[in-house]
């Protein structure tokens, strides 16, 4: 009996010891080799690394650029068939609805950019080091850039300043007014202008010139012509930019980041990409989509034949305009001249957006080659700045002479004679010049809309199609907090 008790005690002891030896402490472990997002920004390099990620979202603006053309009367959607990228097809036909995955991409990607910039700004006071204000200024420029895209596409959007959006904000933070969005954009850009210099520490980073150009553009979009004129004129007069002589060279690889480039989105083809995450591509996805279907021949490579220019925009070029053959590839003529072969896709017009066609690639190019074209997107060219300034001076009524001077500087490079008109005729001349100078660069839809000419687009409904609908999913997520744009 006694023996039994000892044994029982021993058994109990073993069990107790075993339990104690594995207390809940066992599961207290830190994730291995990972960095906690809330305990970062402890050195200059931390800020720099986060800044790179803020720039990263610029690459996803390929969608904004190609869709800015497709939505306009410059191009048709094209592609393989009527159902190839349905969201783009619907926008081309102006029959788009809030159910549109491609519009949702733009919403999601631009807000991702806002949040990445805000991530830095949220922690801007955590660590000090000399030159930090440069990083802050770049982050603020990028936030302004992404918000500018959002306000262009969707009108007033929810704002959050120097803080990341959190889950649940969609049901509590209202859509700000368009004016409020622009106010934030302007203050961010003014900070960048006052902080940055005209030369960037590295090619591809934001300069004072870029901030000035974007600020001028933002004023122009609000019809604040004199404000626009002021900032743009300052940029033209004191900035280091100029028009390159050879218009054609701008859009070739060698022409990237040239003297005419005020702001340029950087791409490369050294990293592969796939359809599963187009925004992850380090290449310009729009270029592959614009390429000639089944093309085999010199200079270019093939693509998916989207974004095909229509006869109307080809006819917009004046006789002798050297820009026409740079901007528009007449594939039939090209094939005849070079022996190239090609296929025809949906809505084949025979024309392609030559500025952003895929060029022959280096051996370093990684697949899927259609998604990794390295063509930089020339977001703001000096020619654009000149034309914006011309428009600002003309439409503000401040100085038609100066407007003509800037307009004719662009025309001269194109091999065309001076415009002599003034007033409204000059305004129309500037509109015409913007269309042909900047065709294929993603600006035309918004130029039409902001100048009240949206109805030039087939199927355009005034007081509706000026803005795109907030994605249906977002309206649902907001649970009544956000109202849909008018007409949708």
């Amino acid at each position: 009996m006694k023996n039994n008790i000892i044994k029982k005690s021993a058994a109990l002891l073993v069990i107790v010891v075993a339990y104690l030896s594995c207390t809940d402490e066992f599961v207290n472990r830190d994730p291995v080799y990972s960095i906690d997002s809330e305990n970062y920004f402890n050195s200059e390099s931390d800020y720099f690394n986060a800044l790179i990620a803020s720039y990263d979202m610029l690459q996803s603006t390929y969608a904004n650029a190609i869709l800015g053309e497709i939505a306009s009367n410059n191009t048709l959607c094209g592609g393989e068939s009527a159902t190839d990228v349905v969201g783009w097809q619907q926008i081309d036909d102006m029959i788009h609805t809030p159910v549109n995955g491609n519009l949702r991409d733009i919403w999601n990607w631009m807000f991702a950019g806002v949040n990445r910039a805000n991530y830095i700004l949220e922690f801007q006071d955590r660590t000090d080091f000399p030159g930090k204000e440069i990083y802050i200024a770049e982050a603020r420029f990028l936030r302004a850039y992404y918000y500018f895209e959002l306000v262009k596409w969707f009108g007033g959007v929810p704002l959050k300043v120097d803080e990341r959006f959190q889950l649940g904000d969609e049901t509590s933070i209202p859509r700000a007014s368009v004016e409020e969005v622009y106010n934030l954009i302007e203050s961010d850009l003014e900070f960048a202008i006052n902080t940055l210099s005209y030369t960037a520490p590295q090619t591809g980073r934001v300069t004072k010139g870029a901030a000035q150009a974007l600020l001028g553009k933002a004023h122009l979009y609000q019809n604040e012509f004199s404000l626009a004129a002021g900032v743009l004129d300052n940029l033209i007069l004191s900035g280091p930019y100029d028009l390159v002589t050879d218009y054609n060279s701008i859009f070739e690889n060698e022409g990237e980041n040239g003297i005419e480039s005020v702001f340029e989105v950087q791409y490369t083809d050294v990293e592969g990409a796939g359809f599963g995450c187009l925004q992850c591509s380090e290449g310009n996805v729009a270029v592959g989509f614009s390429g000639v279907r089944s093309y085999d021949g010199p200079e270019f490579t093939s693509g998916f034949s989207f974004n095909v220019p229509v006869q109307d925009v080809v006819d917009e070029f004046e006789a002798g305009d050297i820009r026409k053959d740079v901007a528009i590839l007449d594939i039939e003529a090209w094939a005849l001249a070079t022996g190239a072969t090609f296929g025809t896709g949906f809505e084949h017009t025979g024309f392609f957006n030559r500025k952003y066609l895929p060029r022959k690639r280096s051996a370093n190019a990684q697949g899927d080659l259609n998604l990794t074209n390295p063509n930089n997107y020339r977001a703001i060219r000096f020619a654009d700045v000149l034309l914006m300034a011309a428009e600002a001076f003309n439409r503000s009524g401040i100085d038609d002479e100066k407007a003509r001077q800037y307009l004719n500087r662009v025309r001269f490079r194109a091999g065309l004679g001076d415009v002599t008109a003034g007033g409204n005729a000059l305004t129309d001349a500037i509109y015409h010049e913007r269309r042909v100078e900047l065709v294929g660069e993603g600006h035309h839809f918004f130029d039409l809309v902001r100048t009240g000419r949206g109805t030039e687009i087939d199927g355009f409904t005034a007081n509706k199609n000026e803005l795109f609908p907030i994605p249906i999913e977002e309206i649902q997520f907001s649970n009544g907090n956000w109202e849909q744009n008018p007409g949708y």
């Binding site: 291995v32 986060a50 990620a53 999601n108 990445r116 959050k160 090619t203 899927d368 080659l369 649902q476």
Partner: protein, 1015 residues
């Protein structure tokens, strides 16, 4: 008088007691006449006893006359023999395997089958022997009710998915696998090493708490038997494989005529002005499929034991080539295994088991857009596979053929990869009977796995296809995965007053899995040749800024305490209760702990007084169980924000990498909770010849862990490397009925048979998707089309969402009378599909999409037959799946690709067809996702048929063997189905997006011949 007789009897009896006998005897196995060594013979009520020697003989002296001998042996029915004289005894022992006393593994212990109160099914060695599964999962298809197995591909070594009682979550649905007590991996085990597979389907699995929600598969591996003679067994078979199916495609002439019609209808010049002489052209399927492709299996085992030790040693080799690209796609598995059990003392027993596995798998692209079969189905038959100079012909990159379809033979030729895996897993356990009724078990089980993968991207130009590789590279990886399971538990077992039986188990389990992976890519492989494809030689500089190396690590842990009380009153009223407490690193510090309770009860009605013993009804038991289980299978560290996103840009023309936030955290993450209810009835009828098990179950899964749940884009989750948080936001309910019946009959000594039929019904419904849109999407269709699979409240999980059709427009009048279909991409014309305006708003648009079916079968059935006549045995296994739908998505809907021959029945004018639309190169809406692409994939499959012949006993006795059998059979003999594609039973296994057919690699039909030899 009476008194006298009584006294007389008393005297006689007393006299008898005083008599003793010296007994000798021999014990044999009734089934095969093998002598049984180590059998215990005890005189009842005394300590007198003996055990048999190696020849089954025993001697027992001084046994009182009329004593009762109790003859017992593990795994055999215990016999009682009254001895009245000293004649030598010949005792035949009958195996216990099928009796009610069968012991079932239930997790941290065993239970007599008659006392099991949960829904538990088992698969034994016989089934594994008969089915000849290459992978263990296959043995569960059709043999166990409530279990469905789908194959991801028929390629050698491809994965299979097990679903127990339906699809309950949008996340990981695979069951927990426990091998001899430790958490393991079913997919690489050698089926020949398995003694039994036990499937816990209901709340019985609650002893596994947070990991048991998807059901539990318990594997018991083979071990030797104490005191058994050494048994040597050798099994070998060889098989020849072929495809079960070739899809009926157009031949070259038919293809050309269809193209001409299509081009003409689209207003384009016909591509084949002269079709004469085209003949049948190339049959690409025949080009890629091979016949009589070999598969070979050998396994060898030695087992036996002495009084204190039992051992089993085995080795196996399997080699399978693919029916597509036999050389480039093959699977090799070698295993070695050692099992050792020893009684260190009467009270302490040690049990070890070690398995070493080597796998070598080479694979071709066998799924999705870009697979070899996809190319084989879409390549034009007018094109010869080879050019006149012997090179592979290129498939032109015309718009009509797109840029994704390449010559499948060239694709095979240019595929180079290798995957090797080495794994050591096993367990050591120690049982200590510390007191008569108290047993302690300490056990450690471990898995340690190293794998290496290599893929060579050969520099290749297919002529402007997406698969062109401008620069050769070789990518290699090395991955280590380790885990251990440490158990410590005590079991107290006692009976009180011969009526109250109590078993109490309490213990703890510590589980840790940890590992790392290293990846790297080298460029410019010398000579562009697989023989030189290694990073050691591929020393071309990577592009500036490109990161060509990567790694990951993980360390996940779980700590569990559990207890189980089992109580029964005379084996008649059965009750058990379980409680488990789990902590897991998958959840944040505030939510780490969870408790999982469950109860089960049973009533053996047939033991009641009122239940008269009858030959009709031998046994009847009601069962009921309810419990809460958990699921924690989500990505690691979902509760903290990490900088593991992608932030990469270009400065100074060079790629530069920054840091970005990855998946958004959800600090409130909690367990997925499964509430399982089950009622069951077990019956044995007609002298135990008929065995019926029925169950009705309701499984409710709440708090579903939805990874990357759609959330508002303003939080920035769609940035590269970003993801929405994992949120507990859904619910799914599965209800069903299971029925299994076995009928066994020994007609005569020469003839017996065994029929087993089982049926499972399943009804699946999503009860909650709490993300404000009310649904989740997945699964792709065609190119550039929206996702087609949904998880939505009130619908089955993963149902197909698209347009309903209502015939074909026969004329323009019908088109005009119907709402416009322009919103789908093109105006309708006669010959086009007519889509239903389901919401009657006068326009056909995305709002008209409805449920078009789902990939979940309404019912599955298994039928297994075994006949033995003299020395001939015959088995057949069949499986049926009813009501599962599948999406035909292997057609690249371009103008110039080849098509299935159903297109020959297309609409060509009024009245010609009301099901298959016209062909045209013009824009139509016929290719948007509609019920035209959804097919009923119900099927009946003859899984296995086998005929064997065993040499007669007297013959094999002479040559010193105990068994010699030869057999021939066919695996996957035939599938009856209306489904047009290769394999109606295939799925990628995704809960949302499963059942979409990109041209599944069919499971081969295998003709096999084999031998079984036992010594």
């Amino acid at each position: 008088m009476n008194k006298k007789i009584f006294y007389l009897l008393f005297v006689f009896t007393t006299f008898s007691w005083s008599q003793t006998l010296d007994l000798t005897g021999n014990v044999k196995d009734k089934a095969n006449n093998d002598p049984l060594p180590g059998v215990n013979i005890v005189v009842k009520g005394t300590s007198l006893g003996a055990s048999t020697d190696f020849d089954g003989n025993f001697v027992l002296n001084d046994v009182p006359t009329n004593s009762v001998l109790v003859v017992s042996y593990l795994g055999y029915q215990t016999q009682e023999i009254t001895v009245t004289n000293a004649n030598p005894l010949d005792i035949l022992m009958e195996e216990d395997a099928e009796s009610l006393e069968t012991v079932v593994v239930i997790g941290y212990g065993t239970q007599k089958k008659r006392e099991v109160t949960g829904a538990v099914s088992t698969v034994g060695t016989e089934v594994l022997d008969e089915l000849k599964p290459i992978k263990v999962e296959q043995a569960l298809q059709g043999t166990v009710s409530g279990v469905n197995v789908t194959s991801q591909s028929g390629a050698p070594g491809a994965g299979l998915d097990i679903r127990i009682r339906g699809i309950s979550t949008n996340g990981a649905n695979g069951p927990l696998v426990i091998i001899d007590g430790y958490q393991g991996d079913l997919s690489i085990l050698n089926p020949n090493d398995i003694e039994t597979i036990t499937v816990l389907k209901d709340a019985q699995a609650a002893i596994y708490g947070t990991i048991g929600a998807n059901g539990v598969v318990l594997i018991t591996t083979k071990s030797g038997r104490k005191g058994a003679k050494t048994k040597v067994s050798y099994n070998s078979w060889v098989g020849f494989q072929e495809t079960t199916r070739e899809l009926p495609l157009l031949n070259a002439t038919e293809y050309a005529l269809i193209l001409n019609e299509s081009y003409a209808a689209g207003g384009q010049a016909v591509p084949f002005p002269n079709v004469s002489g085209l003949g049948v052209g190339t049959n690409w399927q025949q080009e890629v499929f091979n016949e009589a492709v070999p598969i070979i299996s050998h396994d060898f085992s030695v087992s036996g034991g002495s009084e204190k030790i039992a051992y089993s040693i085995s080795g196996s080799h399997l080699y399978q080539q693919g029916i597509i690209a036999p050389v480039k796609s093959d699977f090799r598995r070698n295993t070695a295994r050692l099992s050792l059990r020893a009684d260190l003392s009467d009270k302490v027993k040690v049990n070890t088991n070690l398995i070493y596995t080597y796998l070598d798998r080479d694979a071709i692209n066998d799924s999705g857009l870009g697979s070899v079969l996809f190319n084989g189905l879409n390549a034009p038959p007018t094109l010869s596979p080879f050019q006149s100079n012997g090179d592979f012909s290129l498939i032109p990159s015309t718009p009509g053929l797109g840029i994704e379809i390449i010559n499948p033979l060239a694709q095979i030729e240019n595929t180079f990869n290798d995957f090797d895996l080495k794994k050591l897993n096993g367990t050591v356990s120690l049982d200590y009977e510390i007191l008569e009724n108290l047993n302690l078990t300490g056990r450690i089980g471990f898995n340690t796995t190293n794998s290496e993968g290599k893929t060579f991207a050969k520099q290749i130009d297919y002529g402007g296809k997406v698969f062109d590789v401008p620069r050769s590279s070789v990518s290699q990886n090395a991955i280590n995965d380790d885990s251990y399971t440490l158990d410590f538990y005590g079991t107290y077992k006692n009976s009180f007053a011969d009526a109250h039986n109590v078993t109490f188990t309490v213990g703890t389990t510590i589980y840790k899995e940890f590992g790392n992976g290293l990846f790297a890519t080298g460029f410019d492989v010398p000579n562009n040749d697989w023989g030189f494809a290694d990073i050691a030689l591929a020393n071309g500089a990577p592009p500036a800024g490109a990161i060509t190396v990567g790694s990951y690590q993980y360390d996940e842990r779980r700590l569990s305490f559990f207890s189980r009380l089992q109580y029964d009153y005379k084996g008649k009223y059965l009750f058990s209760a379980m409680l488990r407490r789990d902590l897991s690193t998958r959840f944040g510090p505030g939510n780490r702990v969870a408790y999982f309770p469950s109860v089960t009860a049973g009533w053996v009605v047939s033991d009641e007084e009122f239940f008269k013993e009858s030959s009709f009804m031998n046994f009847m038991k009601f069962r009921v169980s309810y419990g809460i289980l958990g699921n924690d299978q989500i990505p690691n560290n979902g509760y903290i924000g990490q900088l593991n996103g992608e932030g990469t840009y270009v400065f100074d023309g060079t790629l530069i990498n920054g840091v970005a936030i990855g998946q958004l955290p959800n600090p409130d993450l909690q367990w997925e909770e499964a509430k399982k209810f089950d009622v069951g009835l077990d019956l044995k009828l007609f002298d135990n010849k008929v065995d019926i098990v029925t169950d009705y179950f309701i499984n409710k899964r709440d708090n579903l862990l939805i990874s990357n749940i759609p959330v508002s884009g303003i939080v920035g989750v769609s940035a590269p490397g970003g993801a929405a948080p994992t949120v507990n936001a859904g619910g799914v309910e599965n209800k069903g009925f299971e029925f299994a019946i076995t009928y066994k009959e020994d007609i005569s000594d020469d003839f017996n048979f065994n029929i087993n039929y089982n049926l499972t019904t399943l009804s699946n419904r999503v009860t909650e998707v709490n993300n404000s849109t009310g649904f989740l999407e997945g699964g792709s269709f065609g190119v550039g089309q929206p996702a087609i699979s949904r998880m939505e409240v009130g619908q089955p999980i993963g149902y197909f969402f698209g347009y309903q059709t209502n015939g074909i427009f026969q004329n323009q009048g019908e088109v005009n009378a119907h709402p416009s279909q322009i919103a789908l991409g093109a105006d309708a014309a006669p010959g086009d599909l007519r889509f239903v305006d389901t919401n009657n708003d006068g326009v056909i648009d995305p709002n008209d999409r409805v449920n078009l079916g789902d990939p979940i079968p309404d019912m599955t059935m298994g039928l297994n037959l075994t006949f033995n006549y003299k020395n001939i045995d015959f088995t057949a296994y069949a499986f049926a799946s009813i009501g599962n739908d599948m999406v035909r998505n292997y057609e690249r809907t371009l103008t110039d690709v080849n098509r299935l021959n159903y297109v020959l029945g297309r609409w060509t004018g009024e009245g010609t067809s009301n099901t298959i639309p016209r062909v045209t190169t013009a824009a139509t809406s016929n290719n948007v996702f509609s019920d035209f692409f959804v097919e009923d994939a119900s099927y009946v499959r003859i899984q296995n048929i086998q005929v064997g012949y065993s040499l007669p006993q007297d013959v094999i006795d002479k040559i010193g063997m105990t068994k010699a059998r030869i057999y021939a059979g066919v695996n996957n003999l035939y599938t009856f189905t209306k489904y047009k594609g290769y394999d109606p039973g295939a799925s990628n296994g995704a809960p949302i997006g499963g059942g979409i057919d990109f041209g599944f690699y069919p499971i081969p039909r295998t003709y096999l011949f084999g031998i079984n030899l036992n010594f």
